[in-house]
Symmetry: D2
Subunit: 407 residues, 4 copies
């Protein structure tokens, strides 16, 4: 057992931290200004493209993508465990860090499944430009009309008609889909409702401009549109036709692909969340050390000290939990790490939420305003308690499995 990072990781940590300090942090205000100056624009703002060019030139690109059986294949060749601390560093500037290095969801997950399950033709057409950063993508899974945490509820229909699949359904919370650069939608639907419950679903690749695809509206989350990130769209598929060659892996493989996509995605979400938590703690420190009330700095208040101590403890514990999960994924695989992946999905977001909530309290109303990133950080944490199914679904499954274990 060894808690120190290996040299490869340490080397990357240095480079990523330098990039963040030199390029990303100073760009935060620029992004805010560009978003304000370009209302209604959902595509990448100029500063994002600029950071991406710089990162690519420094070789800090696609760090998230582990080596495949066939070599690096477009990624940096890092293990999940090696990437995890880098992902945390990117998370400290959540709107720019991951995007700068082409490590932002949902592209990351889409690139992963394309590399693992796509045909060479599919890869050439969609994976290559995604790896290159020239296009973006969306993942269309959640539906408004059913509890989507139960995959058997999915109502979107994918019917084969000759050499085509015909898709009908309504999706929402398709992150990134408001961005017209998101040229490819990975769509989950049912090809065979009569099959065994985890073989009913399939995934097809639907180009954004296919007739019948309508991006209806942006969804807000706590009033935020996440425009910098391509937003979250409600998308309708009405008699959308794609060639049968657009299926991913094969009919009935949708559930398995979705499962495969989950593991790394959660590591990424959680490590970013830990980065956000560290940033929030920095903000707390700044305010508590500078603000005076009732003749004392806030940093001298026992209650605030206790909050800060609790934050430190919670961050450390959760970071270790995620790192160990990453290690398990690398060593025994996603399936064997299933319980741990569920655990971090539940544990980390609420850690972040509690920390950010208290930092807001330290800031007073300012903390919830547009002058600080805290309110938006809060909603990031809040969203993670729901994304991929509400926490309660995962706790139930985890508890059930644990109760079945032999003592």
């Amino acid at each position: 057992m060894e808690f120190d990072f290996d040299d490869t990781t340490k080397g990357y940590i240095d480079r990523v931290e330098r990039f963040m300090a030199e390029h990303v942090m100073p760009a935060e205000d620029v992004l805010a200004q560009q978003l304000a100056d370009n209302p209604g624009v959902w595509s990448r703002q100029p500063i994002v493209r600029q950071l991406q060019a710089e990162a690519k030139s420094q070789g800090l690109w696609n760090l998230f993508l582990p080596a495949s059986a066939h070599g690096d294949e477009g990624g940096a060749g890092l293990t999940n465990l090696q990437y995890a601390p880098l992902c945390e560093i990117l998370g400290r500037s959540p709107k720019l860090g991951p995007a700068a290095m082409n490590c932002a969801a949902p592209d990351t997950g889409n690139m992963e499944i394309l590399r693992e399950f796509a045909t060479e033709e599919q890869k050439a057409r969609w994976l290559a430009p995604l790896l290159d950063g020239s296009i973006r993508s969306a993942f269309c899974m959640t539906e408004p009309d059913v509890a989507s945490s139960d995959a058997t509820n999915i109502a979107t229909v994918i019917e084969r008609d000759g050499d085509e699949y015909v898709i009908n359904g309504r999706k929402w919370w398709s992150t990134g889909a408001m961005n017209p650069e998101a040229e490819i939608f990975v769509v989950m639907g049912k090809t065979d409702p009569s099959a065994e419950r985890h073989r009913q679903q399939s995934m097809v690749l639907v180009p954004r401009d296919t007739p019948g695809v309508t991006v209806e509206r942006p969804l807000l989350f706590f009033g935020f549109d996440d425009r910098d990130h391509g937003g979250h769209a409600e998308v309708v598929f009405r008699n959308v036709r794609v060639p049968v060659g657009n299926i991913l892996k094969g009919e009935g493989e949708g559930f398995a692909i979705a499962q495969a996509r989950l593991g790394p995605g959660r590591i990424h979400h959680c490590m970013r969340a830990i980065g956000i938590a560290e940033r929030a703690l920095d903000l707390a420190r700044e305010r508590a050390n500078s603000r005076v009330a009732f003749h004392k700095h806030l940093s001298e208040q026992g209650v605030i000290r206790e909050w800060i101590a609790e934050a430190r403890i919670a961050i450390e514990a959760n970071r270790l939990l995620v790192l160990k999960t990453a290690w398990l994924m690398d060593t025994v695989g996603n399936r064997a790490a299933h319980a741990e992946i569920q655990a971090i999905k539940v544990a980390v977001p609420r850690m972040l939420e509690t920390i950010v909530d208290r930092v807001i309290q330290i800031y007073g109303a300012a903390g919830a305003s547009q002058d600080f990133p805290l309110a938006e950080m809060y909603t990031m944490a809040r969203a993670l308690r729901i994304a991929d199914g509400p926490d309660e679904v995962h706790l139930n499954a985890l508890g059930k499995a644990e109760l079945r274990r032999a003592s």
Copy 2:
């Protein structure tokens, strides 16, 4: 001891409930549409004016204002305890209920202090139109540069110069001030920084159109602009001159007036919060009874049942706490009810926050979207944990006083 409402209260409950069912609830969608149709408009939307006309015609107007020593003086003559349950009912539609009956903050508090402390001239000019609903008002207390929960921190300067006061300072979170109808600003500042700590402050009445008053920008709270409510403004006062007759009560009275304003305000905030909690519970019920996941209605899930039970318990306990506080204010006065007023300020918002948070969890991502009022309800609760000083300031004071009590 008697827990039943008196007949006057029951009569009003019936009338207010009927008004809510017939007029307010159906108007919620109308308001949403008008807000969407009139971007950038901060003044009352047409539906609000329409509801106000109807409410006034039914005599459901200024219910919040108790009788004064001189008679009803424009209010309904109800005690705090009588008004409290009505306030809860209004709170079930938080954007429309209170506004419809001219019972919305910050006008309520401003009307209270004007009636209690203003000169006849001041009353004629400002109180009358406020009671009538023809204008609105703002209360300018909190400042961006200091911890405003400590009144001695206030940095706005009010200097006498001959027959005028000259005001310089920066205020924010001036609720309602984005609304151009808010014609009068009640401004807190320091007239004598060398006086005893609670005699340094004074309040002056500043007409919105006075030269030097600049409403700089709207503040967002968790991404919401509260436009239906006149928003929250940052307001700068640069060499603003008003006649000395615009002072409220007298120099050095600011702190005492602010204190007097607090008690009823908290009762109102808290009872509205309880109304919101009941509404959230209704929403929970609807979703849990209709949504199916893993072959069960959500309402059959033990965890959700427990949440609902906890919500019911918390609502009941907090309602009683607020009602008793209202009764104390009526019988022994605001000052003697100080501890209870602090207690409800802390207890009720977090009750609401917890309930709404869980109802969002029941709804999944939909719950945090613009399709349901839950995210905005959450921010109402969240704001109350900060408004009038963060909870921690009140807990500290309450604990200190309790520790000093003789056993």
Copy 3:
């Protein structure tokens, strides 16, 4: 709505407080000494009998027992709402206060059901001496082998055999039954397992000295034997025969009687718990104001102030909840107050537990030792989270009912 107590109640409050100050509080050390001096003795210690004589002579006796349809019938004729605050005062000295005035469980509940459901003969034989305080009693309901919160699980068999009932079963947590003065056991069992689920159970009166009754052993709760209170016994009934006249009310009435017994019992438990909480807060105050660490009195520590404030808020809210429940029981009856009775069962014990836990923390290890009553107070709170079924059973039922309510 009126939060002040009526004059009758105020009169009793004065008398009971005086009695507590003059007789009960000084007796606490005496009881501790007598318990130490009389190891193995489970019957009432001399000081208890002495206090009982004094209380009886002052007319402070059986205060818990409301008037029945036939008059006072041995009780003080107070309503639940009138008795509740007295019960709280008794609870401040939980080992002596209730016992001194013959207001201690389980006798209180047993007296209530005997008065309501017993025949004249049963009353003469058992109720009279209980009202008089000359004997004590036990209630044998919970069983070791089944989840007794589900009444249909009860395994004790009561079979009719001619003019007798034959009882076979094993009970435990029969509070008071270690005390040989507990001459009568109220035993719940099944007379008809084939009946509708709430008509299977019956209650019979079993004199302690009936052949086949074995009080096997005392149960400890967190290491405490509650010897001052008659302990908690495991009792075996092997072919125990009692005349058919010993049935209470009739066959199949057991469940209904148990339900009837619950309401007042919970009010009593909860109000006592509130009294204990106030006592714990007194202890906190004493320690925090006298102990110095790191150059400050503990009372100056922000965290401790916050705990104390939270305690005050929680006590006030819970007291109101219990008082309102008592009022409901008086005005609409136990059945209609069912939800409220469940609510206080859950809310009050954990309030007490949290408060006592923190007061122990203020005391350090001393707080958990035999030198202070805190550890034992903690276990009282802890026990209430389990007694009459674990809280979770009640929350589930409460949530289910709430979800079924029309919005």
Copy 4:
């Protein structure tokens, strides 16, 4: 970074687990019986000595003691990180596991400081028999009259008088001191109250039978006497004289020695606590899978599943936190691991407390009785929240340090 244990550790894990299964677990009932059969006996029960002989013969002895600069010196030569998982396994039977392998507090800490700071003569006289298991020891630090978490409060006086130190003071919670086999007391007192605050204290070795030493009484913790463990004593030192050669390291070194003692002690406490938590979870599983209420196994209740899931998450996170702390102590030393040592002191006990509390709830009243180890496990957790100073002291220090860190 590597989360797998090394081969040495794995080898020991196998051996310790086998020993636990074959010898310790079956001995639990024997110990209970011997304790019952030998009331008033505080020395090791026969079964403990028997297990110790067996463990020693298997070379499972003094595993806790790392190699020193001079070689193994009586310990197994494991690092903190290697011992930690073994300590967890021992903790699963908290009354027997650690004792069986001579790895029980307070002897462990005393052996550590003796080996590090004692003279050869002191070692020969006290360390050798402790390592051998032929005697036991006590650590006399906490005092009843002051808040001992603040070391400057210590009131025990150690005055030099010629060739002797004269000790006067009152100590309590001297764990193990009720056991007459505890032949040596390590006593902390002040030799120079005028010195710098962390140089006032010294430690002297006081043989139990020195005139003036009085073991006054056993202290109970939540009603438990911990007799199997030598209990917790109140000890008075009245003009106790020991040779000057009995000082440990030197005058003014007491605080530093206490600090050095803390690190490993906390690792041990925390890893044992994790073992207890796993045991509690086993107990939960057994009950939830076998008990039926309302037509369902408890294991099918959503709330219980959630508890179990939460327990699993919390155990994993806390275990990693402790292991990393052990690794830090091994690699950068106790002082550099200070924050982490404080963190686990706070985080682990409450994790255990919450888990055990819920398992008791699953068991109902049985869980708090003498029939299951849960109530005693609860008190172990509860005690750790106070031992070495209440958690709040550590949180305050941790928060203060964190607030001072550069962002």
